[in-house]
C-alpha cells in the first residue's frame, strides 16, 4: 500500500491536468504543503500508467475528460479501479472542478470514494486556500479520511437539497462512530431537514449530554427549526440510541451508582440495562443468557465473585468482544496494564461526573468497533486471534503492520500472537522473546512465551516465564494453572500445589481450578483428597485426559515406571461414581504393562477389566487380552501399534531467508482484501439514494485495463 496523505515525506502525489501551466501551479502548491514525491501528467490515461507502477497516496484531478481520441478514461474509472484494486486501496482522490462539472456526477463520485472537491482557479492563492481548508478539516478530524470526506459531501448534499441521501450518510457515519456527539449533531440536523422534528429534538438533547461544548450549535438548530418546541416536549420525545447498545450489564454494590449509570444510559436510548449488586448474581445471569451483552460496566470490588475473577470468567465464557469498563475508586493509572491483561478495556476512576462517564463509554465503544488507537487495535487483533477469527484479525493486522508509527516491539507482539493462534508455536516463542527484548509488553509476552514453551515441552523455560509474570501480577487464574502444569512437568509438586491453591483462593468455584487441583492431588499421591475433590466435579473426562497424556508422554520419554505409577495413582484417586473412567484408566495400565514387557501383569489387569460390565472398555480389554495370552503361550513378543499421542504442535524450522520470504508472502496475502466501509473516504458509507442509477452505471462503463507492475518493469 502507498504511504498515506499524512506522511508527507513519503506520500506520492499525482496531479492530472491537461494545461501545463496549471499543472505546474498545482504541483508547486502541493510542494508548498510539504509533499516531496510529486508526479504530474496531462491525461487520465497517463495517470493510469503512473498508478500501475508508482505508489501514489493522493491523486489531484481536474476531472477533465481526456482530449486524446484513443482515450475515454475518466476520473470515475480511476475511482472505480481504486475501489477494486487492493494495492490502490489507500489512494485518495481530490477533484478540482471549474464549475462545468455536473454536480450530480460529483455526488456519484463521492459514492465511488472521492475524497474531496475544490474550486479550480488560475490564481495560485485561490487554489492554495482551497487546499488549506482541506488540511484544516484533516486536522479537525484528526486525519480521519472518512470524516473529512463526509464534511465536503455533507455541504454538497445540502446545497443540492438531496436530503434523503444526507440522512442516510449521517446514519451510516454514526454506526461507524457510535456515540460521537459531532456526528449525532449532524444527524439531528439531517432529521430536521427531513422534517423529523421529534427525533431531532431527542437527538439534540443527547448531543448536549454527550458534549456540552456543542450546546451553542444545538441552540442554533433549535432556534432555527424548533422555535416553539418546549424542553419538556423534547424530554418526552422517543430517545434515539446513538451508542447502538442493546444490552448493558451493570455491577456495583453501590445502588446510587447503579441508579445514576442506568439513568445516564437511559438518557442516550439504552433500553435493556441489567443491574446487579454482586458479581455472583451477574455471572449467573450471564451464564443463563448465553448471549454476549454489548457492554459491561463494573466496580472492581464486587461481592460474591471478585472483580478480577469476574472479568476473567467473562472472557473464559468466550465473551471476547464485549467491552468491559471498570469504574472504581480502587484503581490507579499504574494498575491498568494488569487490568488490561485480564481483559478490561477501559477504566474510569470514582467519583466521576456525567461528562467523564459519557466520554469513557463512547471512547471504549468506538475503539472496540473501529479501533484507531494503537493499543485498542492491538487488543482487538488479540481478541480476534483468541476467538480464532483469523481472517478478521488479518484484515486489522494489515493496517497495523503498514503503519510506520507503530514500534517494532508492538509488531513483534502481534506476530507472536498470530503464530500462536495459527499453531506455529516455535515462531510464536521466538517472536515473543524478540518482543520482550525490544521492550514490549512483558506480561503478555511472558504469558505467550510460557504457553508456547509448554506446547514445545520446554517445561523449565515455561516455568521461568510463568514465575516471572506471576511476580508482576498474581491474579491471573489461567497463568496460575499453567504454572501448576509446568511445575508438575518438572517434578516440583510443592510449587504445583501452591499455584493450584492460589488459583483456588482467587476463584474457589472455577471448574478448571478444581480439575487442576485434582491433578495435583493425584500426582502428589494424596488419593483421599483427590477423591474428595472429584466428588464435587460432574465430569472427570478432562482430568483423565490430562493424566493419560502425561502418562503416555512419560512412557515415550523412557520413564515407564513413572508412567505406570501415575496410572495406579489415578485409579486409586477416582471416585466410585466414575466406574467407566476407572475401567478406562485400568485398561491403559494394562496396555502400559504390555508395552513395558510385563505380560503376566498385563494379562492379570486386562482380565479384570474385560470381566467388568463396561461394554466398550471390556471389549477393548478382551481383544488385547487375547493377544497377550497368545504371546505368553508362544513365548513370543507382543507387537503393538505405535502409541498415538495428541497431534504434535507444528514445529517450523526456517532459515532467516525463508522466514523473510514467508513474511513477505504473508504481507502480500494481508493486502489481498477488497475495500470495506471506511477504507476509502465515504466508499460504502454513502449511497446516493436519490440519484439516477442508470446514469451512474454509464459513468463507470468500460473500465480500462489496469495492470500492476513493479517499477523496474515500467516502459
Amino acid at each position: 500500500m502507498a504511504s498515506t496523505l499524512k506522511e508527507k515525506d513519503f506520500c506520492g502525489v499525482l496531479v492530472i491536468e491537461p494545461a501545463s501551466s496549471i499543472r505546474q501551479m498545482i504541483s508547486e502548491i502541493v510542494k508548498d504543503f510539504g509533499y516531496k514525491n510529486i508526479f504530474h501528467v496531462s491525461s487520465n490515461k497517463e495517470a493510469l500508467h503512473v498508478l500501475e507502477v508508482e505508489k501514489i497516496g493522493w491523486v489531484i484531478s481536474s476531472g477533465s475528460k481526456d482530449s486524446q481520441p484513443d482515450s475515454n478514461v475518466t476520473i470515475f474509472h480511476i475511482l472505480k479501479l481504486i475501489s477494486v484494486t487492493p494495492r490502490l486501496k489507500g489512494t485518495l482522490v481530490s477533484l478540482l472542478t471549474d464549475g462545468d462539472q455536473d454536480p450530480e456526477e460529483i455526488v456519484f463520485a463521492f459514492e465511488m470514494g472521492l475524497f474531496s472537491y475544490h474550486q479550480k482557479s488560475y490564481v495560485k492563492d485561490a487554489v492554495s486556500d482551497e487546499f488549506q481548508i482541506l488540511f484544516n478539516y484533516l486536522k479537525e478530524y484528526q486525519w480521519q479520511f472518512t470524516l473529512t470526506s463526509a464534511a465536503y459531501l455533507r455541504e454538497l448534499l445540502k446545497e443540492r437539497h438531496k436530503l434523503k441521501s444526507l440522512l442516510a450518510l449521517e446514519e451510516n457515519l454514526l454506526s461507524m462512530f457510535p456515540g460521537s456527539a459531532d456526528i449525532l449533531l449532524h444527524l439531528a440536523e439531517a432529521e430536521l431537514l427531513n422534517g423529523r422534528k421529534d427525533t431531532a429534538a431527542s437527538m439534540l438533547g443527547q448531543v448536549e449530554m454527550l458534549d456540552k461544548k456543542l450546546s451553542l450549535h444545538c441552540k442554533k438548530l433549535k432556534e432555527k427549526y424548533l422555535p416553539s418546541t418546549e424542553d419538556s416536549q423534547m424530554a418526552t420525545a422517543q430517545t434515539f440510541n446513538p451508542l447502538g447498545l442493546k444490552r448493558v450489564v451493570l455491577i456495583d454494590a453501590d445502588t446510587d451508582v447503579l441508579y445514576y449509570i442506568s439513568e445516564l444510559l437511559g438518557a442516550v436510548g439504552v433500553k435493556q440495562i441489567e443491574q446487579f449488586e454482586d458479581g455472583a448474581s451477574a455471572f449467573q445471569w450471564l451464564e443463563g443468557e448465553k448471549k454476549e451483552p454489548d457492554l459491561v460496566i463494573m466496580e472492581w470490588r464486587t461481592f460474591g465473585i471478585s472483580g478480577p475473577v469476574l472479568v476473567q470468567r467473562i472472557r473464559q465464557m468466550g465473551y471476547l468482544q464485549v467491552p468491559i469498563i471498570v469504574i472504581s475508586s480502587l484503581i490507579e493509572k499504574s494498575d491498568f496494564p494488569i487490568l488490561k491483561e485480564m481483559g478490561v478495556d477501559h477504566c474510569q476512576t470514582k467519583p466521576f461526573e456525567q461528562a467523564d462517564f459519557y466520554a469513557s463509554i463512547v471512547w471504549a465503544i468506538q475503539q472496540n468497533r473501529c479501533p484507531t488507537e494503537q493499543k485498542s487495535l492491538q487488543l482487538k487483533i488479540r481478541r480476534l486471534l483468541h476467538a480464532e477469527k483469523i481472517e478478521e484479525a488479518k484484515r486489522l493486522m494489515a493496517h497495523f503492520f503498514t503503519d510506520d508509527r507503530i514500534n517494532e516491539s508492538s509488531k513483534l507482539e502481534i506476530e507472536a500472537e498470530y503464530f500462536f493462534a495459527t499453531g506455529e508455536t516455535k515462531q510464536a516463542r521466538d517472536k515473543g522473546i524478540a518482543a520482550i527484548k525490544h521492550g514490549g509488553d512483558s506480561l503478555l509476552m511472558l504469558n505467550l512465551v510460557g504457553k508456547s514453551m509448554l506446547k514445545l515441552k520446554e517445561f523449565e523455560g515455561a516455568l521461568r516465564c510463568f514465575e516471572k509474570a506471576n511476580s508482576i501480577s498474581s491474579l491471573n487464574i489461567e497463568r496460575l494453572l499453567n504454572l501448576a502444569h509446568a511445575s508438575i512437568e518438572v517434578g516440583n509438586m510443592a510449587q504445583a500445589a501452591a499455584a493450584a491453591e492460589s488459583a483456588k483462593n482467587l476463584d474457589p468455584t472455577n471448574l478448571y481450578v478444581a480439575e487442576m487441583e485434582c491433578n495435583v492431588r493425584i500426582e502428589t499421591g494424596t488419593p483421599e483428597q483427590a477423591q474428595a475433590l472429584m466428588e464435587n466435579i460432574d465430569s472427570g473426562k478432562n482430568i483423565i485426559s490430562y493424566m493419560n497424556n502425561r502418562a503416555v508422554s512419560l512412557a515415550r520419554n523412557g520413564r515407564f515406571e513413572d508412567s505406570i505409577d501415575l496410572y495406579k495413582k489415578t485409579i486409586v484417586s477416582l471416585p466410585s461414581k466414575w466406574k467407566d473412567l476407572k475401567a478406562l484408566v485400568t485398561y491403559n495400565l494394562g496396555l502400559a504393562y504390555a508395552r513395558y514387557g510385563d505380560l503376566d501383569l498385563a494379562k492379570e489387569i486386562l482380565k479384570e477389566v474385560s470381566e467388568q460390565r463396561i461394554f466398550e472398555v471390556a471389549k477393548k480389554a478382551g481383544s488385547l487380552l487375547k493377544r497377550v495370552e497368545v504371546a505368553v503361550a508362544s513365548g513370543g513378543k507382543l507387537e503393538l501399534q505405535e502409541q498415538k499421542l495428541p497431534e504434535p504442535e507444528k514445529i517450523e524450522e526456517k532459515d532467516p531467508a525463508q522466514a523473510e520470504e514467508q513474511k513477505n508472502i504473508e504481507m502480500d496475502l494481508l493486502e489481498e482484501f477488497e475495500a470495506r466501509k471506511g477504507d476509502i473516504a465515504c466508499y460504502l458509507v454513502f449511497f446516493y439514494v436519490e440519484g439516477d442509477r442508470s446514469r451512474f452505471d454509464e459513468l463507470v462503463k468500460d473500465l480500462p485495463r489496469f495492470l500492476q507492475r513493479s517499477s523496474i518493469e515500467k516502459t
Binding site: K212, K213, D252, A253, D254, T255, D256, V257, Y259, Y260, I261, E299, R301, I327, S328, S329, L330, T349, K350, P351, F352, E353
Partner: protein, 252 residues
C-alpha cells in the same frame, strides 16, 4: 490503636447500611469514635447535639430525605469553617467545584481504598504547625505554573482555605493539567500581606470552558508549601473570615 487522632469523634452519614458500617469500622480500627446516621436530617440532629465533640464529618451525597449537599449547607450554616466535611461518593452528581465552594473539604471515591481513611483523617485533622509542611514523595509532577498577578484577589486567581482557583487564561500552554494530576506552582502577588504562593498541589476539578459567570480553569488542593511562604500564607488565611475551601472561579 493509639495515635494523634485516637478517641476523636467522627460523624459518618450514608443511607446504605453496608457502606455505613464498613466506613465506621475503619474509624474504629483507628481508635476513633464513629457516630452513624442514615441521612442528612439524622446527621444534622446528631451534629447539633454533639457539635463540640465532632471533629470530622464524612458523608455520602445521594441520600433520601436530605442529601449530602443539603446536609453540608445545614452544617455550614452553624459551623462556617470547621469541622472538616468530606464527601464520599461513586458518582459526583454534586460537582466538586460547587461542593468545595460550599464548604466541603475533600472528595473521596466509594469504596474507600485501603489506608484512605487514615490519609483523609491525617490531612483533615492536621494542626496548623504541621499543615502543608511535608513534601509528598513518589508523586509525578505533570506541570509547572509560574505567574505574577498584578491584582489580588482577581477573577483569575482566588484563594481558599485549602487551595485555590486559577484560570486557564493565567496559564496558557499548561497542557499537563488533568484531574488528579500534581502540579508545582510559583505564584507572586502585588499585595501587602500575600506575596507568594509556592509549592505542590493536586488538581481536584477542571472547567474546560467558561460557563455563566464562571471562568474556565481548575481547582487546586494545596499539598505542600515552600518554607519561604508557608508561615505567611497560613497567617494570612487565618486572618480572613469565611473562606471557601476552594473557590469555584466566579468572575468579578
Amino acid at each position: 490503636m493509639t495515635g494523634a487522632n485516637a478517641n476523636k469523634t467522627v460523624l459518618v452519614v450514608d443511607d446504605q447500611e453496608n457502606f455505613l458500617d464498613a466506613v465506621a469500622f475503619e474509624f474504629e480500627i483507628m481508635g476513633m469514635k464513629p457516630l452513624k446516621a442514615k441521612n442528612g436530617i439524622e446527621g444534622f440532629e446528631i451534629f447539633k447535639a454533639k457539635k463540640d465533640e465532632i471533629e470530622m464529618i464524612i458523608s455520602d451525597i445521594r441520600m433520601p430525605v436530605c442529601d449530602g449537599g443539603q446536609f453540608l449547607d445545614k452544617v455550614r450554616s452553624i459551623a462556617k469553617q470547621t469541622p472538616p466535611f468530606v464527601f464520599m461518593t461513586g458518582f459526583a452528581d454534586l460537582k466538586p467545584a460547587e461542593a468545595y465552594d460550599r464548604g466541603a473539604d475533600a472528595f473521596v471515591g466509594k469504596p474507600l481504598k485501603p489506608n484512605e481513611v487514615k490519609n483523609i483523617v491525617d490531612m483533615m485533622l492536621c494542626t496548623d504547625d504541621k499543615k502543608w509542611l511535608e513534601i509528598p514523595t513518589n508523586l509525578e509532577i505533570t506541570e509547572s505554573i509560574n505567574k505574577k498577578f498584578s491584582n489580588f484577589p482577581s477573577s483569575d486567581f482566588q484563594i481558599g482555605k485549602s487551595g485555590f482557583f486559577i484560570s486557564y487564561a493565567s496559564c496558557p500552554g499548561a497542557f499537563g493539567i488533568e484531574k488528579d494530576s500534581v502540579i508545582e506552582f510559583d505564584l507572586s502577588f502585588n499585595h501587602e500581606s500575600f506575596h507568594q504562593l509556592k509549592g505542590l498541589g493536586k488538581i481536584v476539578w477542571l472547567r474546560m470552558e467558561n460557563e455563566e459567570k464562571l471562568l474556565a480553569g481548575c481547582g487546586v488542593m494545596i499539598l505542600s508549601l515552600d518554607v519561604s511562604c508557608r508561615d505567611k500564607v497560613i497567617k494570612f488565611l487565618s486572618s480572613v473570615d469565611e473562606l471557601k475551601t476552594i473557590p469555584k472561579g466566579e468572575s468579578f
